[in-house]
């Protein structure tokens, strides 16, 4: 829930004298939908079993290239909020554009779902220029909406791009919009520590500030999250416990109306499942708070 302060102003055109008066209203939203990367070590079903919750409802699916079907991998029946990332060549060929439209139509036919689609998740460090990546997102948005308006098209950004420690930042340079400047349907933050002492609140506040400098009122999501970067030898948050990292990230996500809270665990990238028991306990609490 958030409280908005509303200010009305009436200005006298002849004298320039004005009057102002304020009121407030609240905005509420459901809790973020808890999920995990599709290739989590235990499998999505195994995660729910280990947490002792109902099956996960959100999952992020990665594709190297353009899959033939949405979301590109087996879709568990419990997952009603799939997020698929695809990788067409850029600029997109006519064939890739047609494939993208087909994927969107397939996603829309899964009528019980609220499908999400993006291309080149974490595209900031994939060798593209901001102009090329943003142009691809604008074109993809147009294609997806023309094919299937109910499919929500967005962009997964790295919070690391707003850390001030990258050669490819700032994050704001990479924020895509529609061709007319209007926002995409959602913006996801792949959320990892900027330093061993930087908690998720600071990490996400920085990323959101840069996003809002381009899109003032975005719909946001947590589309990856862990207390250590998914690279061996990367940065691990040590200022507090792993459990607190997730608790603080969840608290931020709830306070800011994120639509998903997708965690990332994958042994080959140095973030194995399951985590330590205290973290498991926290993730169980988060999943339950999410409605599982």
């Amino acid at each position: 829930m958030s409280v908005a302060t509303l200010t009305g102003t009436v200005t006298d055109r002849a004298t320039g004298l004005l009057a102002t008066r304020t009121t407030r209203f609240t905005v509420t939203w459901p809790p973020p939908v808890f999920g995990m990367n599709y290739d989590v070590d235990a499998g999505l079903g195994g995660v729910a079993s280990a947490l002792g919750t109902r099956p996960l409802r959100a999952a992020k699916f990665f594709n190297n290239g353009m899959p033939g079907t949405y979301p590109g991998h087996q879709l568990p029946a419990s997952v009603t909020m799939p997020l698929a990332s695809v990788k067409p060549g850029l600029p997109m060929s006519a064939l890739d554009q047609a494939t993208l439209a087909g994927l969107a139509r397939q996603a829309a036919q899964l009528t019980a779902l609220r499908p999400m689609l993006t291309l080149w998740q974490e595209g900031e460090n994939k060798g593209f220029t901001p102009a090329v990546l943003k142009g691809a997102h604008a074109l993809a948005y147009k294609i997806v909406k023309a094919a299937a308006p109910s499919v929500r098209y967005g962009q997964c950004l790295m919070t690391w791009s707003a850390s001030g420690h990258t050669s490819f930042g700032p994050l704001s340079d990479w924020v895509a919009t529609q061709a007319n400047g209007q926002p995409l349907d959602w913006y996801g933050f792949d959320t990892y520590p900027n330093s061993p002492s930087t908690g998720p609140g600071v990490v996400l506040d920085r990323a959101l500030a840069e996003l809002k400098s381009v899109v003032p009122n975005p719909v946001i999501a947590i589309t990856e999250c862990n207390y250590t970067t998914d690279l061996t030898g990367g940065i691990t948050y040590t200022a507090d416990s792993q459990a607190h990292w997730f608790r603080d990230a969840w608290t931020w996500a709830v306070a800011h109306g994120c639509i998903t809270f997708i965690c990332y665990f994958y042994s080959p990238h140095g973030v194995p499942w399951p985590p330590v028991p205290a973290t498991m306990t926290e993730l169980t609490a988060i999943a339950r708070a999410s409605g599982l």
Binding site: G8, V10, D12, A19, N217
Partner: protein, 98 residues
């Protein structure tokens, strides 16, 4: 130019709480501001024989007799985009998505 400022008598939303993405309607009721009217009074005396005349003018101000045009606007702490639906000169209505 002096005058009296506009007065907002009320500002209200159609509900106290909204689900994210729902339509918010805001109504502002106001009394327009006013400007003073300057009246120029001219006295003339005419000689009936020669037809010659003399004039003297004096001006005075009638406070608050001109109702001014006003423009209404709203802004909020969430930087929402507000659209003006109507403005009658005393009641203005705006909408935005929560």
């Amino acid at each position: 130019m002096s005058g009296s400022p506009p007065v907002i008598t009320s500002i209200s939303t159609d509900k106290a709480s909204y689900a994210k993405g729902a339509l918010v309607t805001v109504t502002i009721s106001y009394q327009p501001g006013s400007s003073d009217e300057t009246v120029v009074l001219t006295g003339t005396a005419t000689d009936k024989t020669t037809g010659l005349s003399g004039q003297l003018t004096v001006s005075f101000v009638v406070a608050g007799t001109i109702v001014d045009q006003c423009s209404a606007s709203v802004a909020d702490s969430g930087n929402r985009t507000w659209a003006k639906v109507s403005d009658t000169g005393g009641v203005a209505v705006f909408t935005a998505l929560a």
